[in-house]
């Protein structure tokens, strides 16, 4: 048994999950997929991922933030690095969503689509 690091991917776009899973697997990670926020939080409790990657916009504009909050207050999610994915430019001038009053902290925000080498580089860095 090797000790592959576990990545939990949470996104409501099945194809995006699959595409990203393929890249991460090629990078030597064990990948777990969840198609919505609730499934993702539940899965985190059972698989104990080493890192989680969460899409910001799922059922709602800011569902990703809810997931991050719930992970951050759970035992499994407290310590691990979290990456937020976004198709909108989070720092952009025109956010059309209302962010929660207190933004839960993530370790990194990446914009979709993500270059394969960048994804592997950042995940590797955060897991070091």
């Amino acid at each position: 048994m090797d000790s592959k690091k576990k990545v939990l991917l949470i996104d409501d776009d099945k194809d995006f999950l699959l595409a990203t899973k393929l890249i991460l697997e090629k990078g030597g990670y064990e990948v777990f997929l969840a198609e919505d926020g609730k499934a993702g939080v539940d899965m985190a409790k059972s698989v104990y991922p080493d890192i989680a990657i969460i899409d910001m916009m799922m059922e709602t504009w800011s569902e990703g933030f809810n997931v991050v909050s719930r992970l951050r207050t759970s035992d499994t999610g407290k310590q691990i690095p979290l990456i937020m994915l976004s198709a909108v430019d989070l720092q952009g001038p025109y956010q059309s969503f209302e962010p929660p009053d207190e933004l839960p902290t993530v370790d990194l925000v990446l914009h979709k689509p993500i270059k394969a080498d960048e994804l592997l580089k950042f995940v590797g860095q955060l897991l070091r």
Partner: protein
């Protein structure tokens, strides 16, 4: 107006003559309208406020209060209400005056039940058309707003996913791809990237139109913004062997009122354009200076230049200057975005160019004078 057939319009009558009130009430109730009435001016105003009638008949001459004042007040307070003045033959002049103050029509005394019904019908038609027009305008605005959401969800999301698949495809295939297949993938990726840029630019423009951008304006210094834009484009310039040179006036602390992120995109757009049209070995220079009133930024390249006859059109959406060779195409919206953002900053963008020599974009921003507000140096 069929859907209104079941709706019983509410009509208010204010007249000091009881006989007129009775006559009107009978005529209108017979046609199925709800009628409320009073012989007292101030009561009329109270009733209008409480009952919100669709239409009101107001007698101009009443002892308790002037009908003209009621007209003036109600037309200001209740913009949708249709006001009709009741007036004696002798006072057509005052009827005209009332219409200037917001009445829609007038009804001269004496009148028959048919006449009041006809005037009522016309007045209500006017009201319902106006309501319908307002509703349609709101609907149109709502659709425009939701179209932005539609584009970002239904077009951008699948595109992003396809781009992600291409990334995974390259990773999985690793080095095992035949060169011709690799070439096809590269070409697909370029086209996908163009489409992605187009959608992003289009969304940028749509969001400028819906006004959400102006809320983010703050006092800022341009130097760090230009520096960050240059940082962003440096790798590309190095790859294309273009020198990117910035002569930033170090002590230029003059500020403007602006939006940090969209200004970065203004500069990356112009400098990015310059890289597209500048051959390897060329140079792009960014200079900033200021006087008492304005801050100027000049971005010059030693590129192919833009033909004089094309210059007036380069800020138009989807206008492209065709190069001799096939280059990576832009979205055709980049400079339109630049122009709109400059307009939104009360700024100005000019371009001068000489074919074979180069192009210079000159941006001018009005300087900010107040010095008490905190400087926003980062986003």
């Amino acid at each position: 107006m069929e859907e209104k057939a079941e709706y019983s319009a509410r009509i208010l009558i204010v007249d000091d003559e009881e006989s007129i009130l009775d006559g009107c009430r009978q005529a209108l109730e017979k046609s199925g309208y709800q009628v409320i009435s009073t012989s007292n001016g101030p009561d009329g105003i109270r009733l209008a406020r409480a009952e919100k009638p669709d239409l009101a008949f107001i007698d101009l001459k009443m002892p308790s209060c002037s009908g003209m004042d009621i007209i003036e007040l109600l037309s200001k307070e209740m913009p949708g209400i249709v006001l009709i003045v009741i007036t004696g033959y002798a006072s057509i002049v005052s009827a005209v005056e009332a219409m200037k103050k917001g009445a829609y029509d007038y009804l001269p005394k004496p009148f028959t039940p048919d006449q009041i019904r006809a005037v009522t019908k016309r007045g209500l038609e006017h009201r319902f058309l106006k309501i319908e027009a307002d509703r349609l305008r709101e609907e149109k605005e709502r659709m425009e707003r939701s179209f932005i959401t539609f584009v970002s969800h239904e077009m951008r999301s699948p595109l992003v996913t396809i781009m992600q698949y291409f990334e995974s495809l390259k990773v999985i295939a690793d080095e095992g791809l035949a060169p011709n297949i690799k070439d096809i993938i590269d070409r697909c990726e370029k086209r996908l990237q163009s489409l992605h840029d187009l959608i992003e630019h289009w969304l940028d423009l749509a969001r400028i139109e819906d006004g959400s951008f102006s809320e983010n304006k703050a006092p800022l210094i341009l130097n760090p913004i230009i520096e960050r834009s240059i940082e962003e484009l440096n790798p590309l310039c190095q790859k294309r062997e273009i020198i990117l040179d910035a002569c930033l006036d170090d002590d230029c602390v003059a500020r403007i009122i602006g939006d940090y992120e969209s200004l970065i995109r203004v500069f990356t757009n112009i400098i990015g354009n310059a890289t597209k049209y500048t051959p390897p070995g060329g140079k792009i220079t960014v200079r900033i200076n200021h006087d008492d009133y304005y801050i100027y930024v000049h971005i010059s390249d030693t590129g192919t230049g833009i033909p004089q006859d094309k210059l007036p059109f380069i800020f138009e959406p989807f206008f492209r200057v065709k190069g001799k060779e096939e280059r990576q195409k832009g979205s055709g919206l980049g400079l339109t975005f630049v122009k709109k953002i400059m307009d939104a900053h009360n700024g100005k963008v000019d371009v001068s160019s000489q074919e074979g020599v180069g192009t210079t974009f000159s941006l001018r921003f009005p300087r900010l004078y107040e010095i008490r507000e905190p400087i926003r140096s980062s986003p």
